[in-house]
């Protein structure tokens, strides 16, 4: 279909910038290889713990966050920018707003990721999932995001195309959503350059975190890729988009509903029940908007299915959209309370997230890259055959991964919940559960290897394609200049509005919004913000009013030190600290966790995966210091077949108490107001040392520790103090009540 141009239109020359889009593609491939290699490494470590070589920065707890960051922000992030930089210019018929901003955006983003690589494995982490970067890097990230926004909105401002195409709506939502989430979730109070405490605590922190975590999936892994889908599928298939009306309805409903669904990550926890219910209800409603995107993508291919057989690009795109449909359906199912009781904290969740990350995000990115690189380099793909091979490796890889994790998750979940006829736990020993799912850890590892192999083929193929091409040049095209608005517009729309049929009325109204970016942005902000405001504000208020439990006291200086070591080592990627309100969990771990127990937890450490057992009441269930010492030093010495990493360095590292007073001072200041007295703050180090001495004395009663010198200065004592404290405060109140 030809562009409608009026005879008066002047033609203008536009030069589309290919350089930065191409750089983003290269970065996607490089980080993809790194991120997926990390994934394969930690998958191996779960099946074979010795693979961490007992090296602190190679242990599972530290590499897993690096893996998630590398895949989400580095691989998917760069893919998003590649897609946006390529399509935005062409959809708006103008060059990117500023080459300088493009350069800043590109290098700034890579700097954020490199900073992550240089901090996360070394234990500098906020401890919040998918937001592990410490505060200075968070600030850099915000600056880069602003630059990206400026570049994108500047381009929109200078467009030669009155209407914004649906892909661009999704890009706008992406920018807005991530900005809002990042700023909202990163409210921390710095202690040192690489340590901070969040201003929220306990259930507030949990809800803010999962408002962030869930919607990072929405606005970093869904909306930008839907935008990319809306550009690359019709381009690659050379078919019109199936339904414009569906685009409208599913755009607005998606961004409205998504935000509300965050609490489905916190079902059966101490989060207020009304918030949990809202999370489930909106998750149920999320299926239609999600599938709206899927069917609009798939139905666009009507009449082009024969092309799918031939083209690797289309195969990737079709498979990606299909995985999107499956993953979103799976997500809605997992959000139901009953299913969640089983699936939560298990490998099923891991499988689910990889359906999305590998099946949807990665496959779509590959399809996009295979299509756009030859276009930009004005050449052909080096090897179509290799791309086809990549497609099969990737698809079989994800499928293997997903099936293995699904079986492991259901098995593990069912074993955790299983009761015998006397309503007592069938599997009391955690190792029974670990052993049952071990074979599937190996299967998952092999699935990951297949996917990584495909990734390597892709990088090689693209590298050859780029190398074979002549120099990368910008595209020069002639396009009609944007005409000044005429009054006729409103007359036309007026007429359209008076036409019969709801469909046409909405179309006409939406036409107005599309040609007026400020309105599109403004409306999107409102729609995006509603869910967050309705859930966060009451929870923060309710959180502030969480019924105090008199016996719940702030952590002692030594326990706080131990807690920060727990965060540094990433124990919370394998251990939860949240006994859910389920019979089996109460039976296994003790009375369920109360909101009031977490008011001093900054950040909250409820976790999301139980590779090991819950530790919320570890102090009650395993008070023994010597057991913890032996176990942490070498888990397999007391727990045969355990897959927990060894932590020998905790027994040899001296505790770092240098910033302890400052930590207490920060926690005691506004708005955290933890009740530490001035003398506690000033004498924090001495108080910590005195407590360490006590634990050392307890340990020395045991022959094994009798002759150990310098025991009281080791990090081990701090983390033992923390573990011994966990969950004990509540019991103190029960005892106090009994005494009365």
């Amino acid at each position: 279909m030809s562009e409608p141009t009026s005879p008066a239109a002047n033609l203008e020359t536009v030069v589309y910038d290919n350089r930065w889009a191409s750089n983003f593609v290269i970065a996607t491939l490089v980080w993809g290889i790194i991120g997926m290699s990390l994934g394969v490494t930690i998958a191996l470590q779960l099946a074979f713990p010795a693979a961490n070589l007992d090296t602190p920065w190679l242990t599972y707890g530290r590499l897993r966050p690096l893996h998630t960051n590398a895949v989400i922000f580095a691989f998917a992030g760069n893919a998003i920018f590649a897609g946006i930089y390529f399509s935005l210019q062409r959809l708006l018929k103008t060059r990117m707003f500023s080459d300088k901003l493009s350069a800043f955006h590109f290098w700034g983003w890579q700097a954020v990721i490199v900073a992550g690589v240089l901090t996360i494995p070394f234990g500098f982490t906020s401890g919040k999932e998918y937001a592990e970067l410490e505060w200075p890097i968070d600030i850099l990230l915000a600056a880069v995001w602003l630059a990206f926004g400026l570049n994108m909105f500047g381009t929109i401002f200078r467009r030669r195309e009155r209407h914004l195409y649906v892909a661009i709506w999704f890009y706008i939502a992406t920018w807005l959503g991530i900005f809002m989430l990042h700023v909202g979730n990163s409210a921390v109070y710095p202690v040192t350059l690489f340590k901070s405490y969040p201003v929220y605590s306990g259930i507030q922190d949990a809800l803010v975190q999962w408002w962030y975590g869930h919607n990072a999936v929405a606005f970093f892994l869904t909306t930008p890729f839907l935008g990319i889908m809306y550009y690359f599928i019709p381009k690659a298939a050379e078919r019109p988009v199936y339904s414009y009306r569906l685009s409208i309805v599913h755009y607005w409903s998606l961004i409205f509903i998504y935000i509300w669904a965050g609490p489905h990550h916190l079902l059966h926890t101490a989060l207020p029940e009304w918030a949990q219910t809202l999370g489930v209800a909106f998750s149920i409603m999320l299926i239609a908007p999600s599938w709206g995107g899927m069917i609009n993508g798939l139905l666009t291919l009507r009449g082009a299915w024969d092309k799918v057989r031939e083209s690797a690009v289309l195969k990737f795109l079709v498979a990606a959209v299909t995985f999107y449909g499956m993953a979103t359906f799976e997500g809605c199912v997992m959000a139901l309370r009953e299913v969640n009781a089983l699936s939560h904290n298990t490998d099923w969740t891991i499988g689910h997230v990889h359906n999305g990350a590998l099946g949807w995000v990665a496959l779509l990115s590959f399809g996009m890259i295979y299509w756009m690189v030859p276009k930009m380099y004005k050449t052909k793909l080096w090897s179509e055959g290799l791309a086809n091979l990549h497609f099969w490796l990737a698809t079989i890889g994800v499928a293997t991964y997903a099936i293995a994790m699904w079986i492991a998750g259901v098995t593990g979940g069912a074993m955790q919940l299983a009761f015998d006829e006397n309503s007592r736990l069938v599997y009391t020993d955690w190792m029974q559960i670990v052993n049952a799912i071990m074979p599937f850890y190996w299967v998952r590892f092999s699935g990951g290897c297949l996917f990584l192999a495909g990734m390597l083929l892709c990088a090689f193929n693209i590298w050859r394609t780029m190398a074979n091409a002549a120099k990368l040049e910008d595209d020069v095209v002639l396009v009609p200049a944007l005409m000044r608005e005429s009054r006729a517009v409103s007359v036309e729309i007026d007429k359209a509005l008076r036409e019969e049929g709801l469909g046409k009325k909405t179309n006409a109204l939406h036409d107005l919004v599309e040609r007026w970016p400020t309105a599109l942005v403004g409306l999107s902000v409102v729609v995006l913000a509603i869910g967050g405001i309705c859930e966060l504000v009451p929870t923060i208020i309710q959180g502030a009013m969480t019924p105090r439990i008199a016996s719940v006291k702030p952590y002692t200086p030594l326990e706080l030190t131990g807690r920060d070591i727990y965060i540094r080592e990433g124990c919370s990627v394998c251990h939860t600290q949240m006994i859910r309100t389920l019979r089996a969990e109460v039976e296994r771990y003790g009375v369920y966790s109360r909101a009031g127990e977490f008011i001093y937890d900054r950040p909250f450490l409820w976790g999301s995966k139980r590779t090991g057992p819950d530790l919320a009441r570890e102090g009650v269930n395993r008070p023994s210091a010597s057991w913890h010492y032996l176990h942490l030093e070498k888990p397999r010495s007391v727990s045969q077949g355990s897959i927990m990493p060894n932590y020998p360095w905790l027994a040899t590292n001296d505790m770092d108490l240098s910033s302890l007073s400052r930590k207490l001072q920060v926690l005691a200041s506004f708005p955290m107001n933890t009740p530490y007295s001035d003398s506690e703050i000033r004498g924090a180090v001495d108080i910590a040392k005195a407590q360490a001495k006590k634990i050392a004395a307890e340990l020395r009663q045991d022959a094994h520790f009798k002759d150990m010198k310098d025991l009281e200065n080791k990090e081990m004592l701090a983390i033992i103090a923390y573990l011994q404290r966990l969950g004990t405060d509540l019991g103190k109140s029960e005892k106090a009540e009994a005494a009365k």
Binding site: R162, Y165, S243, L246, E273, W274, T428, I493, G503
Partner: protein
């Protein structure tokens, strides 16, 4: 026709008049089944809220609370058995078999070795004992735990008092059966007098 006007008519596959970088869009109606999916999911979501918060649905917290109350009522205080009673029980083959059946699932072997001849924990098959040769002490080891719960107590292995008795009967019989080659008795710790029952 100017470039923003939707084409008229609802008929299938009508292209809108506008193209973006060559991409056109059909003005197709929303697929009917998709609309139904939307309506039904909204209805279910509303039902869900009412079901759990106003109608008969039971939230898991209420369920656990009720269950705990019911359990508290059910608890029968296990009779405190005398040493003599315990020894009598320890000759009952069904008891011994029941105890033996429990061992593999209760982690004992991780610490006492695959044949219970000692590893981190002491040899359970020899004639010596750290805590004195009485059934009462074995039951106590298993109920309260030893060494600050390195030897796990009831809080960790979660056996009922009755099951503990069965396991104790089995352990006592291991000693009776005589010494199996294993770890040497922990001379410094274990009492000299060999088992009497």
């Amino acid at each position: 026709m100017s470039n923003f006007t939707p084409t008229s008519g609802d008929s299938i596959d009508q292209e809108r008049s506008h193209a973006f970088d060559g991409i056109t869009e059909y003005d197709n109606n929303l697929p009917r089944w998709w609309l139904w999916m939307l309506y039904i999911s909204v209805a279910v979501a509303i039902w869900y809220v009412f079901h759990f918060h106003f109608w008969t649905g039971v939230l898991s917290k209420a369920d656990v609370d009720d269950w705990l109350i019911a359990k508290a009522k059910e608890v029968v205080v296990a009779p405190v058995l005398s040493e003599d009673d315990l020894r009598k029980l320890s000759n009952d083959p069904t008891r011994i078999a029941a105890g033996q059946a429990l061992i593999p699932s209760k982690m004992c072997m991780t610490c006492h070795g695959p044949t219970l001849t000692g590893l981190i924990g002491p040899n359970l098959t020899d004639k010596y004992s750290i805590y004195g040769n009485s059934m009462t002490e074995i039951v106590k080891s298993l109920t309260e735990g030893r060494m600050n719960n390195v030897m796990p107590g009831q809080a960790i292995h979660k056996m009922t008092s009755d099951e503990i008795i069965s396991v104790a009967c089995y352990v006592a019989n291991l000693s009776r059966a005589g010494e199996k080659p294993g770890m040497r008795p922990q001379a410094a710790k274990e009492k000299e007098d060999p088992i009497k029952y």
